[in-house]
Symmetry: C2
Subunit: 370 residues, 2 copies
Amino acid sequence: MRLHQKGELSILRDLKEKFNPLLKRKDSGIIVGIGDDAAVFTCPNEKILVTTDMMNEGVHFDLSYTSASQLGFKLVSVNVSDIYAMGGKPKFIFLNIALRGDVSDEFFWDFFDGISIANNIYGLKLLGGDISSTINDMSVSATVVGVGQKIIKRSGARIGDKIYLTNSTGDSACGLEILKKLSSRGRNIIKSYGFGIINKEKRQQKWLTLNNTNSKNIKLDFNNAEPLIKRHLMPVVRYSEEINEIGTSMIDVSDGLFIDLLRVCDESGVGARLYLDRIPISKNLKYACKLLNLNPYKLATSGGEDYELLFTAPDGIYPFKDVVSTPANSSSKQLSITCIGEIIPNARVVIALDGTELPLRAEGYQHFGS
Amino acid sequence: MRLHQKGELSILRDLKEKFNPLLKRKDSGIIVGIGDDAAVFTCPNEKILVTTDMMNEGVHFDLSYTSASQLGFKLVSVNVSDIYAMGGKPKFIFLNIALRGDVSDEFFWDFFDGISIANNIYGLKLLGGDISSTINDMSVSATVVGVGQKIIKRSGARIGDKIYLTNSTGDSACGLEILKKLSSRGRNIIKSYGFGIINKEKRQQKWLTLNNTNSKNIKLDFNNAEPLIKRHLMPVVRYSEEINEIGTSMIDVSDGLFIDLLRVCDESGVGARLYLDRIPISKNLKYACKLLNLNPYKLATSGGEDYELLFTAPDGIYPFKDVVSTPANSSSKQLSITCIGEIIPNARVVIALDGTELPLRAEGYQHFGS
């Protein structure tokens, strides 16, 4: 069935039935859930954090290689990432969904399955939103409300602080490169996995074949390509109490490591020195970049959408030991944390692999960039 | 200059400069404003209300007769309306704006002027959002955070309560009919007014000429047509302490009087009896409907986007006296309040002008309606 055969009222009734029963926890502070003019809750003893992020068809996502559930999952993750990057914990989510009327019922509920899975991982409750029709492209956005005690701003970096990065960057941008080069058969395989992409038993493929305009096709080992693709389509963002305790400034790497570090410098009124040889490159990124003839350092420093945490902390705290990331309801996972540079008075520089000092320039993704 | 020549970072810097200086009021509870990963504030002693609403090009608005400032103004109003309809007061607003790269700088700032003017009227502070490019249609959404003590839900209507409506409905739907029939010259006149549409000195027109496919063109007196058009393009929504004190249930009339009353009935588990002859019809609506051959009662009961308050209150409180609407920073205005029916056990009926009892049916606007 198509949405235009169903009508908004009937869709809203179904959504209410799916999501409102999840709101019964007494300690959540919820007074009014889905289905009134506004949601109502209380947060008497905590600071309240609010962020909102949007994803537009053709700009942020391509439905030829993205399933509806992957899209829903990522929409939640990118918003939660902003709450984590301030040291907060996400509590409530609100959605705005603009869909063409010819979208199938299946696509719609697949999208909300992705939302539900992410909500479970992050401990979020859906409290409201707006569903509307659109003429051409889909547009989806979410607003996440979180709570926190100690807030870590972009403006807190101090001269002498060390600069740290969780896990590694570049994987998501490389995953996107792979997806763009996939044949339509390959794209359908990725889409059909949905969340099954995590489940190796369901997978028959050993190789992914990429179209290469200049020479013969490239074959990538699925075991290496899958984590890169997953990082792009279904990023899981992580929260760490330890980072929250010692961080002086923090940002999530959404547009690129360089551009996001420059944002911290601008807000804190300081400079930074990065060491390129310290920037972690995952083994999968190394492998794929070699076959695709890409520079892994370029992807790691300027590729966006990894949603890793970039933070500063006083000197002497490194090395970190046993830092655990703990999104609610999810198995905890140890975070790898790397010191990649230091905060200095004014200059913003990067020490290249050959030891030369180069200016650090914003090269990440900008909307409306010329 | 076009947005794609400017770049996102430069746009965000300009927005921060425009809106962050407004956040300095000490009593606002704001800890972090625009420019970090999330906004942060405290609301220790009040209930928190959150609502979000979206407007899509080609579905909710048509730029051939809507100026950017009118669009920005209406986006704020429709969201504030949901907070007022729960008995709350709006405090903070977050925006998601998806624009084509070829949109002009002028359009962009005109849009934010509309946002600013509305924010001033309603006492709102812009605390954050997301700006992105889009391929085809514009999509704009807002999330408004409000606070309140007594919350009025849709579910509070009790048998024996009277049903009340502020001002009158149908004007917005009639304004839309006029706009759709306007020649391109007429549309440009309306757009060029921007907020000047309020300012009679600037206006030279005495008549608006509408295209009529079936017969000769229709001429409408501008003095009658203007309030209808304004209600559609720039609705001002109003808050009343008095209604808040006595209301048992409330909703804003966004999709149509009948459909929104049925929502109250559904949530409250009650029926309703409306009297068509009590439903107020503005003199301008009467005038325009006569010339356009439209049924004013149909527009008043099924036309959307008036954003008047529909509420129930115990019998005996009517007639209201001197009910004052007081959005912050705006001149207060007396609200007209009419009793249009009563809450009954089960049936949902309307008493027609000839005294016959008819079933009350949802006939307002539904997205994805077949």
